[in-house]
């Protein structure tokens, strides 16, 4: 994938996150599109810079626009990208179960790290609050991650179901 395409994907995700998704939220829950893209891009592409560079940049813009302190969101996204880059070396990226496992771990890491950093920055949200919201937000994000993965995997590995192709 070219960098400009990744940049467009992250820009669209950011704008959707801050406008359309709030309108079509289900029971007040929305998927975290930036995190979804960081997870899929870091998992699928050997060149993990997409997740790191754009995750950090758009995470920072997100914090500038909506957070009381700058840094927790991009730092948490960065840690997620780093963990996935390590895990993908040992995982078969064509197996969707591996993606789900990596996604669940990343979602937990992201929300715990960002909660911890926001807490350090003076935000009073309780840990229980994060735990309560995590299952639904995580489930919603997991559905989106699966959708993005199914679209991108066709472009990365053509004829992946054809065993003679390998």
């Amino acid at each position: 994938m070219k960098y400009w395409k990744a940049a467009v994907a992250f820009t669209v995700a950011f704008l959707l996150q801050t406008s359309l998704l709030n309108v079509i939220s289900i029971a007040g829950y929305t998927p975290n599109l930036l995190l979804c893209l960081v997870i899929v891009f870091s998992f699928l592409y050997e060149n993990g810079l997409y997740g790191i560079v754009f995750g950090a940049a758009f995470g920072l813009i997100y914090d500038i626009c909506f957070s009381s302190v700058l840094g927790p969101t991009p730092l948490a996204l960065l840690v997620c990208a780093a963990v996935i880059l390590v895990v993908r070396e040992y995982a078969n990226i064509e197996n969707i179960v591996n993606l789900w496992v990596v996604s669940v771990v990343s979602l937990v890491i992201f929300y715990f790290i960002s909660w911890g950093l926001f807490r350090l920055g003076g935000n009073p949200e309780s840990f229980v609050y994060v735990l309560k919201r995590l299952p639904w937000t995580g489930l919603y994000s997991l559905i989106v991650i699966t959708g993005i993965y199914l679209v991108l995997i066709r472009k990365i590995t053509k004829h992946r179901k054809d065993r003679y192709y390998r």
């Binding site: 998704l21 007040g28 829950y29 975290n32 840094g71 960065l78």
Partner: protein, 272 residues
């Protein structure tokens, strides 16, 4: 340099970590204060997201309208009936108004301070929301050019919405009442000597406690801002939904049904 070229990924990762950690540290030390650069980004995002939000709302409203034609017709019938009733009441109230004007004139003549305050408002559209499932912050399209300052109270037709967290030219960041960062001092309408503090709670609600453990607060009580702190006195916050006594803190704790429907917010006004 050679090591950096050979380990491009790790180098970028480490550099990003260091830079972001510094930004985080500085931000925490400075108390999250923005600067000119953050203002430009806020204004840009606000401009782009504003258009998208309006389009999304228009689509949602139209689609909802198509699928709920029957209930909308019932709503129209009900409103027409209510309109007739209100017209009757208006005629009665206009008579009371004349009495009120006479009383006001009398109070001025006696140099008696009239207690009802008039606020100067700046109306604004919501341009973007955080959508994080976590904090409850949104951006509006008015800022310092309209006289808005940090800490100003934000309201809508229903009641108190929140406060201005940060502002710049053409944009302001609003922390809503249902955010855990938003503490508000209140008093009961029924007995204005009974004070307490509420803040956002889990699940988009409001909860808090009464200052006096002997308070007679009960379900259904209306609470308004007390005037202590940054919020002007008398802004409608909501109705008490539940009262419990916490034997550990020895305080009466309350949960409140907010007056404002935060999910359907589109327009707000800032008290300047």
């Amino acid at each position: 340099m050679r090591w950096i070229r050979e380990h491009k990924l790790i180098s970028v990762l480490l550099m990003a970590l260091v830079v972001l950690s510094v930004i985080f540290g500085v931000s925490v030390i400075s108390g999250g204060e923005g600067n000119g650069f953050t203002g430009v980004i806020n204004k840009g995002v606000s401009a782009v997201s504003g258009g998208l939000s309006s389009a999304a709302k228009a689509i949602r409203d139209n689609v909802t309208g198509i699928f709920s034609y029957k209930s909308l017709q019932e709503e129209i019938d009900r409103l027409e009936e209510e309109n007739q009733q209100l017209k009757k009441e208006l005629a009665e109230v206009s008579l009371d108004r004349q009495d009120l004007e006479q009383l006001e004139n009398l109070s001025k003549a006696l140099d008696f301070e009239y207690t009802d305050k008039e606020f100067k408002l700046a109306a604004a559209d919501i341009t973007s929301l955080d959508g994080s499932n976590w904090t409850n912050v949104f951006t509006i399209d008015r800022g310092t050019e309209s006289g808005i300052e940090k800490g100003d109270a934000v309201v809508n037709g229903m009641g108190l919405v929140g406060r201005i967290q940060e502002t710049g030219k053409g944009w302001s960041k609003v922390v809503s009442l249902i955010d855990e960062n938003c503490d508000v001092s209140f008093k009961l309408v029924r007995d204005r000597k009974q004070l307490g503090i509420v803040s956002g709670s889990e699940g988009g609600g409001i909860s808090g406690y009464m200052m006096d453990a002997e308070s007679t607060v009960s379900e259904g009580d209306i609470i308004i801002t007390s005037g202590l702190g940054i919020y002007p006195e008398g802004l409608y916050i909501g109705n008490v939904k539940n009262v419990t006594y916490n034997s550990n803190t020895l305080m009466k704790e309350i949960t409140v049904e907010p007056a404002v429907n935060f999910k359907g917010l589109e327009k707000v006004a800032v008290i300047i």
